[in-house]
């Protein structure tokens, strides 16, 4: 089929009216967008800059926007991608651009991944089970294509947030039973722009092409962090406190004591109380809160027993 590829050209500066160059190619509908771009680069224009190597979705290097949607372009057939025989190709917008449709993978991915201590540090545990390793294996399907980071609502406003890809890498270490550094790792992951800065919007899980469910991995890192006694890193203490207050409230009341969770999240009775005072007074005035003591849910003792049982079971885990 005859196609027009409209490819963004230019350097690091992005603007709403980025110029696009039209390239005409004749390829089969099952040809991937990547192969079509390679054909253009080899036959028509050697200056066209984009990355990509393996062509079969494993190297993760060819992520681009295709008609406005982020794709691993070697897994996207042109027949599926085209609209009226045209395909518009742009660099992913959350990452800085290097040239044409090439994004700054060092800044967007690798500096973040490598800011966490790399490499399993073998702890001598040789007998590990399939049950323990299969979640690690699932996390390691990751090709670092960056699509989850491109969907991340935090990176959208804060490029320094480590993002789901890098945090999934931490998950891979922390949940590998052969690694002896879990505690140090959750401390690192709890620093500013780490696990506690995720807003669990679940976009990462919706975006991940390989069903790694990265948002869930971040939640599991938080759980493991709390279980290892690291209740908050040096980073977003408020999110960590909220996490703990939420848990305590459900444990003791059987449901959520919103008033106290808010106060605890903002730093406890004095600091949190003062901070929440104007909101609390406004809520009182409008009848949205009262000063009565928070009531336990019927059956709260059974819920508390569940917590106790959970603690007992998890204490015996490695």
């Amino acid at each position: 089929m005859e196609l027009t590829l409209n490819v963004r050209r230019g350097g690091t500066r992005r603007s709403a009216d980025d110029s696009h160059q039209a390239y005409h190619v004749d390829v089969e509908p099952e040809t991937s967008v990547f192969e079509a771009l390679v054909k253009v680069r080899e036959e028509q224009d050697g200056t066209l800059a984009f990355r990509g190597n393996c062509g079969v979705g494993f190297c993760g290097d060819c992520t681009m926007l295709v008609n406005g949607r982020q794709e691993v372009v070697c897994l996207m057939p042109v027949g599926k991608a085209q609209k009226d025989d045209e395909i518009k190709i742009d660099p992913i917008p959350y990452a800085p651009t290097v040239k044409d449709v090439m994004y700054d993978a060092k800044r967007f991915i690798w500096d973040k991944v490598n800011s966490f201590s790399p490499g399993v540090v073998f702890n001598g545990v040789e007998q590990v089970t399939e049950e323990e390793l299969s979640p690690v294996r699932r996390a390691m399907r990751c090709t670092m294509c960056g699509i989850c980071d491109q969907g991340c609502t935090v990176i959208d406003v804060n490029l320094d947030f480590k993002g789901p890809a890098a945090l999934n890498k931490v998950f891979r270490y922390v949940f590998d039973p052969r690694d002896g550094r879990a505690k140090e790792r959750v401390v690192e992951a709890g620093e500013t722009n780490g696990v506690w800065d995720c807003v669990h919007c679940w976009e990462a899980s919706d975006h991940c092409p390989f069903d790694i469910d990265p948002t869930h991995r971040i939640m599991e890192l938080r759980d493991r962090s709390v279980r290892l006694g690291v209740k908050s890193g040096t980073g977003n203490r408020q999110a960590a406190r909220h996490y703990n207050a939420f848990e305590r409230s459900v444990e003791h009341h059987g449901w959520l004591d919103e008033r106290n969770v808010a106060i605890q999240s903002y730093g406890g009775l004095i600091r949190g109380g003062l901070k929440m005072m104007p909101t609390g007074l406004a809520a009182l005035r409008r009848g949205k809160a009262n000063l009565l003591p928070h009531r336990k849910r019927p059956g709260a003792s059974a819920i508390k027993a569940l917590f106790a049982r959970y603690r007992e079971v998890t204490r015996t885990e490695r």
Binding site: A49, D61, V136
Partner: protein
């Protein structure tokens, strides 16, 4: 000046770097892409090792040699198969989550029975061993403090007084050429898959390391042995994972006639599929005994990609596949420690001709070979570096390459280069593929010589320095043509059939005459061949 410079960031290169670093050497890796973007990630099978009770390294060695059709180097086969279980356990402890057997609570390494093995012997990581090994070794390389030159393309070896003192490399972002000096260099640049069409090649499989060594005077070995993959998706580069054969994969024509079912040797098996595909409209159909759960589990990575590329559900539908060029079994001639004929120059992985595979390579032995040869070469390179004083930087290669690149930037490129590569791919597949004969090989040799002439008059097509892919394409085609001439010359000289080398004009194996390896060296007059007895 580095102690050890590794060229190539795939599995062999990363393993070499870690080995050299473990000996205390200061190590750098120069790679065309970020290391985890290397071709290695697309390898999906596993690593053969006699891990299960009742298996033994001798049995692994026997299977390897039987497949290798009389041309494996026995000492290398013994060394690799003996050390294989240790190599796998080492990877496991570095963090590779190999599959376990025995259900959820099983702890023993699980093994699959791949084609050509008499028993279950391949340790695996679902269907993504290459991806996970590359990621894990990269993690450890960062941990070890190895220096990375990412997106640097090596263009030449710096050789002075018969010793390799570094590599000339092009920084893609700036277009600048620099000499990366080193006391020892390890080539781990992969195979020349882009030489053939169809193939499983990624963009960087250009054989550039093999070509650099060849141009620097190092002989290449076993270059006639080019192995096709039996089942590559029609119209795509994606090979259907070798572990499918552990789950009842079978090939059939559209009429339901089985292909290659009596399990002949590797060469006959591949030729049978190739012939059936041609007779069947370009492909045969692959199906297996896997179900939807396995397609989502063990075959997740394959089935997802197949679905994306073709819309087909491999749990329910047969896949259209045909053979495509996969691996070169030869490469830069090395000894058991990875040393080439040039002092200070080592080679590992697919660019190295170790003699392990012989005339046909066994599934599950390639990843093993990458790890094993990588470790061996890394250790030998570190030892060499520690006993060598800092060499004088040989500037000749840098000056030559600066001139070569400056001239190429001013010459036209683009479509004439692309046309040449398309022709070369078709030519190699037609005349130097699964079936060869003298006339076709002579024709190929003639055309390649002409193409080399024409290539010299072409160039990058534009003068831009930053990320000039036209320049990369021009340089890559030069590498491919150098490798092509060595492959064709070797295939033409070997007048017999053995392993994956099949000559329709010399269809029998001829042990009396051809129990030898062929070494090929570059000269002004073209490739020069000599023979070396096996094991020598």
């Amino acid at each position: 000046m580095h102690d050890v410079l590794v060229v190539g960031g795939g599995i062999a290169g990363l393993r070499a770097a870690l080995a050299a670093s473990s000996r205390g050497a200061e190590v750098a890796i120069a790679s065309r892409s970020h290391p985890t973007r290397s071709y290695s990630v697309a390898i999906q099978d596993g690593l053969n090792a006699a891990l299960l009770p009742g298996d033994a390294w001798e049995a692994h060695a026997a299977d390897t040699s039987a497949w290798g059709d009389g041309l494996c180097v026995p000492e290398v086969v013994e060394a690799v198969c003996r050390s294989a279980p240790e190599l796998v356990r080492e990877l496991d402890q570095l963090g590779v989550p190999f599959n376990r057997s025995g259900g959820r609570n099983g702890t023993a390494l699980a093994c699959l029975k791949l084609r050509g093995a008499r028993t279950a012997r391949a340790a695996y990581v679902d269907d993504m061993a290459g991806l996970v090994l590359t990621q894990t070794l990269y993690e450890q390389a960062v941990r070890a403090g190895i220096t990375f030159y990412e997106e640097w393309t090596a263009t030449s070896l710096a050789v002075g007084d018969g010793a390799c003192t570094g590599v000339v490399a092009l920084e893609q972002a700036t277009g600048e050429l620099q000499l990366l000096g080193a006391k020892a260099v390890v080539l781990a640049t992969g195979g020349p898959r882009r030489l053939y069409e169809p193939s499983t090649a990624s963009l960087h499989c250009t054989g550039d390391g093999i070509a650099m060594a060849y141009r620097a005077g190092a002989p290449l070995v076993d270059m006639e042995f080019v192995q096709y993959h039996p089942a590559v998706l029609k119209g795509q580069r994606m090979a259907i994972t070798e572990i499918a054969w552990a789950h009842g994969a079978a090939l059939a024509t559209a009429g339901g006639t089985g292909v290659g079912e009596d399990d002949p040797g590797p060469g006959a098996f591949l030729r049978a599929i190739g012939q059936a595909a041609v007779a069947n409209g370009g492909h045969v159909e692959l199906s297996g005994t896997w179900d939807a759960d396995q397609a989502k589990g063990l075959f997740y990575n394959t089935s997802y990609r197949v679905k994306q590329l073709t819309g087909l559900d491999m749990a329910k539908e047969p896949l259209p596949v045909r053979p495509a060029m996969h691996r070169l079994l030869g490469g830069v001639a090395v000894d058991a420690g990875g040393a080439t004929s040039i002092e200070g120059l080592y080679a590992a992985g697919e660019c190295a001709g170790t003699g392990f595979h012989g005339a046909a390579g066994l599934d599950g032995n390639f990843l093993l070979s990458a790890v094993s040869s990588g470790r061996a070469a890394g250790l030998a390179a570190a030892d060499h570096a520690s006993s060598t004083k800092e060499p004088d930087a040989a500037g000749g290669a840098l000056d030559r390459d600066r001139t070569r690149v400056a001239e190429a930037l001013r010459r036209p490129g683009g479509e004439p280069l692309a046309a040449m590569r398309r022709e070369l791919g078709g030519l190699m597949h037609a005349h130097v593929g699964m079936v060869r004969e003298a006339v076709g090989l002579q024709e190929a040799a003639q055309r390649i010589a002409e193409m080399k002439e024409t290539h010299g008059s072409l160039g990058a097509g534009s003068e831009g320095r930053d990320y000039n892919f036209g320049l990369a394409h021009y340089l890559d085609l030069g590498s491919l043509l150098d490798v092509a001439e060595a492959v064709v010359a070797s295939a033409h000289a070997r007048e017999e059939s053995r392993g994956v080398h099949f000559r329709s004009d010399h269809a029998a194996r001829d042990d009396a005459r051809w129990s030898v390896h062929q070494l090929v060296s570059a000269s002004e007059a073209g490739p020069v061949l000599r023979e070396s007895p096996p094991g020598a």
